[in-house]
């Protein structure tokens, strides 16, 4: 099924600007690996950065062009041709796969309740936000989240349905924080999704709420 739910245009703008907290940037990059339409859109949005760049005042430099260094490095080897662009998407899209491996079967899931598992995805040292894989068994209701700051959810396997419709592989839920949604995993397939929140506190709250039915607190 083609991708039905895309990130909001403002999310793609922030992506092109390079201004997203890393957790959110990771979700958008994983969506882009699966969505040619949004890849093309981000390319266009990067042009806004180029246009604004040209209007920046010039700061004075204290040293000249590093010509000697450039030539010295030239002697070291051929030009660097890596862009960091995504190869064809595997089960887990690149570049997420670079962090957690390419297959779901290799993920070390932590069981946190009936039919619910999660796995935190490591981010960089200075990263803002938190990134988590969540796996829900058939028919399970996903834990409620989203009451502050920006959050993004990318469906990677199976599907879930909430008031916004059905979300399957590649779809992104980029919801206004006001919207209450109670996603329910597909009755046979369940689902795996990648959830980014821009604050760490949100994540703790999320886990606490997931644990609630177990502990009765």
């Amino acid at each position: 099924m083609p991708i039905q739910h895309h990130p909001d245009i403002t999310t793609l703008m922030s992506c092109a600007a390079g201004s997203q907290p890393e957790a959110l940037a990771a979700v958008v990059a994983s969506h882009l690996a699966l969505c040619a339409q949004c890849r093309a859109e981000v390319k266009k949005l990067e042009a806004i950065g180029g246009a604004l760049f040209e209007t920046l005042p010039e700061a004075s430099l204290s040293s000249p062009a590093p010509l000697t260094e450039v030539r010295a490095r030239e002697a070291d080897g051929p030009p660097d041709l890596a862009t960091g662009a995504a190869p064809a998407a595997a089960e887990i899209p690149y570049p997420l796969a670079a962090r957690i491996g390419a297959r779901f079967s290799a993920i070390r899931w932590r069981h946190i309740g009936p039919g619910l598992w999660y796995c935190p995805v490591p981010l960089s040292k200075g990263a803002r936000g938190s990134l988590t894989l969540i796996k829900a068994g058939p028919g399970r209701e996903l834990p409620e989240h989203g009451h502050g700051g920006e959050e993004l959810t990318l469906l990677l396997e199976g599907s879930y349905t909430d008031v916004m419709g059905t979300f399957s592989r590649g779809d992104v839920a980029d919801l206004d924080q006001e919207i209450e949604h109670r996603p329910v995993a597909h009755p046979e397939e369940g689902c795996i999704c990648l959830v980014a929140s821009e604050t760490r506190a949100r994540f703790k709250g999320l886990i606490a709420r997931m644990m609630q039915p177990l502990t009765g607190l």
Binding site: M13, G49, T55, L56, A59, A86
Partner: protein, 199 residues
Amino acid sequence: MIPPIEALRQPPGTPTPAASAFMADLLERIAKNRDAEAFRKLFQAYAPRVKSYMLRQGADPGLAEELAQETLMTVWRKAVLYSGTKGSATTWIFTIARNLRIDRLRREMAWQPLPESAEEEASLDPAPDEVLAERQRRDRLREVLALLPDDQREVVTLSYVEGLSHSEIAGRLELPLGTVKSRMRLAYQKIREAVEELR
């Protein structure tokens, strides 16, 4: 001293500081011939702006200069990749500076790759006079950005030039997150209309 955002506002039709076609030509010379003279010219044209960008992103002057040097060094190393993008030289250099800033100033990973081949775009927009159309779009884009209402240009600038997330913009301007997003969305609609009507 960093000039205020208002300094970024320019009247429509202001000639581009970096004549795009010429810059693209310099990049091609670097890619094909490893032309050091072309690199020197490109450095003079862009390094001061990259430094200015890094200052706005919160780097101190020493680090901003270092990152400007590093950005242009990356341009030298990756110039071959530019040929495939068919985009603006400035936009390409912007993405290099952007990713370096995420890596070095944010200490986060840059998840967004540098633009690579133009394959996908070419199939979406197979205009025969592609290069001219592309240049017209860029000129129009600059005009529209300069003409945006202040509140919309402000959020777009804070996002692209100062590197603030939507929530950080909301905090800086003391506005609800929803208001920041709706201003961004309005700006996008104006930009899109203006650029699309040229097609």
